[in-house]
Subunit: 397 residues, 2 copies
């Protein structure tokens, strides 16, 4: 019995590696985990209690359609950000991950061209792998995707979709400039390509000025925006959404039906009740305060403990700092031979974050899932491990 060809590609995506080491001894900068202390447990408990014991017995039934009140709230949220949209253009999904998976299923046949940033979100690569595209990888710069390389690829290859994370990119933490956002939409129009704008971290800006959505420059219904509650409420509710025109939405909803029929009414109505009874923006402000502080702790620790040859950035938001060793070094080798066995620290090496799997010297550091103490201790150990590794490696060359 042979399995389907799409299976070979997905199984080794590396998505699982991110969760692998989770014992109490290890300091993990690997996961994309929010701080559990920030989850509004009591408020969510009250909201769930309210809807499940309400007069509406349909709360645990098949809903048969997308839950309107939550779509209305999300449309209103997007409108406040400057996007002209309607509830009928919002699809609720099982986390942002399902949105990416459904979009890939809708747009991509095996072999179709799909452009991703290099590096990018490993879970997106896993979702896309399942539909067997031809990947084209465009380097990410400090102000977002490299437009020269992008246009070169669009000119010479048939491409159906561009996937980008313009705000506090996972994993690099970079933000795409307004000029590049506008230029990206123009290129998509010229070459008849769809854009998937992943805004999973967009609400998490700790300093600087928020930029408009790529979708705000969209005049031809080419941009599908994907949002997530995982980082601003909690991942355990598995709730995301996407914004697109009603035609594409209808197709995506039919695909969602075939994948899992619908999301849990209990969760959808519970979160809707939470949003009615609480101020989400105030909650997000509190998240900003905590994560801004954690990021500063990590950035200062990196300044204190990193060897001179190691580069890192200081992003204005999101979950991650990006680390770069000199070109000749291999972060996987360092992790498995030094950092994890000797220092008991983990991170995500760059290899699996590139569709091409050919960039080895970089790594993603998460600062939101650890305590201040863990961040400082972990970066100190990382620094000691790197000094050891870089020296030995130099000697052995």
């Amino acid at each position: 019995m042979n399995f389907s060809s799409r299976t070979d590609l997905t199984i080794n995506s590396g998505l699982n590696d991110i969760f692998k080491t989770r014992d109490s001894e290890t300091i993990s900068f690997a996961g994309g985990l929010p701080d559990t202390d920030l989850f509004p447990r009591q408020e969510l408990a009250e909201a769930l209690q309210k809807v499940i014991t309400s007069d509406n017995p349909q709360i645990l039934q098949y809903a048969g359609k997308q839950f309107l009140p939550l779509r209305e709230k999300l449309a209103s949220k997007m409108q406040k950000e400057g996007l002209l949209t309607q509830p009928s253009e919002i699809l609720l999904t099982q986390g942002a991950q399902q949105a990416l998976s459904l979009i890939a299923q809708l747009l991509i046949d095996p072999g179709d061209g799909l452009i991703v940033e290099g590096p990018t979100y490993v879970g997106a690569l896993a979702a896309f792998d399942a539909v067997e595209p031809s990947f084209y990888e465009i380097p990410v710069e400090n102000d977002g995707i490299n437009l020269t390389v992008l246009e070169h690829v669009l000119k010479h290859h048939e491409v159906k979709m561009i996937y980008t994370i313009p705000d506090f990119q996972n994993p690099t933490g970079t933000v795409m400039s307004v000029a590049k956002r506008k230029a990206l939409v123009k290129l998509a129009n010229r070459y008849d390509v769809m854009i998937v704008e992943d805004g999973a971290y967009r609400d998490l800006r700790y300093s600087g000025t928020q930029l408009p959505l790529i979708k705000q420059f969209d005049t031809q219904n080419r941009v599908i925006y994907v949002g997530s509650f995982s980082k601003i409420l909690a991942p355990g509710i598995r709730l995301g959404w996407l914004v697109t025109n009603t035609k594409i939405l209808s197709d995506l909803n039919a695909l969602k039906n075939s994948c899992d029929i619908e999301s849990s009414s209990l969760i959808l109505q519970g979160v809707n009740q939470y949003l009615e009874d609480n101020d989400l923006n105030q909650h997000i402000s509190e998240i900003h305060r905590v994560y801004r502080h954690k990021k500063e702790i990590m950035h200062q620790a990196l300044i204190n403990y990193m060897p001179d040859s190691v580069k890192f950035n200081n992003p204005e938001g999101g979950f991650f700092i990006w680390l770069q060793l000199p070109n000749e070094y291999d972060m996987n080798q360092f992790l498995n031979s030094y950092l994890l066995p000797k220092q008991n620290v983990t991170l995500v090496p760059s290899k699996n974050l590139f569709a091409s799997k050919n960039i080895l010297n970089q790594a993603r550091l998460n600062f939101t899932g650890s305590t201040d103490q863990q961040i400082n201790d972990g970066i100190k150990r990382l620094g000691a491990g790197l000094k050891d590794y870089l020296m030995k490696k130099t000697v052995s060359c």
Copy 2:
């Protein structure tokens, strides 16, 4: 911009039609809806409240792995039914629908042979359509799938997977005999085919003797069992499971990661807590009592009100009674021209329940989602409509 080829197939699956008419005037025998009065809302509310306000802050975090305590309970449940299995062989899914979708993604490449019963579960057809198989349809008889036709297909075509609902089949309500269960496994062994055994209605037997699972006769890890909480607890929690060996399970779990990362920890832990604090078997007994009664009401009403040329069965469990008009009639035409506009009653015509879409004279009637009064009134109106339709149709011929 062209969409992927798999999209064309899924969009018109008919899965949505089942939920279409849900106003208070219409009596619907169309949905596969449980009786909302049977949902243990208070008990589930207490269980959710307990886990979300517990000392464990991980309740709303990414879990990073399949939740063990619930897998243990499901392994124990399956063991009590006679299946030798372990928690490591249980995968928790987003309803049984996701299990079907993942299995199809794992096993089927476009054009691969896939055997389904005719008629079958419309949601399975939707899940399978998305991977573009070559469908082979085997007639369902009173004691399950027709083995002669099945073997003929297996002998002459390359087939990768057989999908069957042996217990209270959706939509016919039939049960596969023990002899056929054994023979099916032998055929699968001989022709190197996987079997997907959908047990969504298995726990809902109202009379007669429960039969062993097909998987109990499986000696070569060819049978993947799929279970669901939708019918024994509530659909709104979106919780199902599958049983297979650890190798296949690991691949299916990687695919689930790519589709939605994981299911909601809150739901998984809440249901686990419900199962610790309550007696599921006692709850199922109460469901039996109510549905046995509803089925008898519908069956008696059918006896009272159907014209002589209309056939129907009296299943020993499940959600559905199967209705057959003489061959020359078209149930879709009847529904749209008579039943819905004139009698304000709906059902599911057979056309979309066949992969071949070429059987028009039959229909599925659901008896669990309506009150006793609605069942009697609706069947009475159905009978009047049919008499009208059959007579006019005859006259015009």
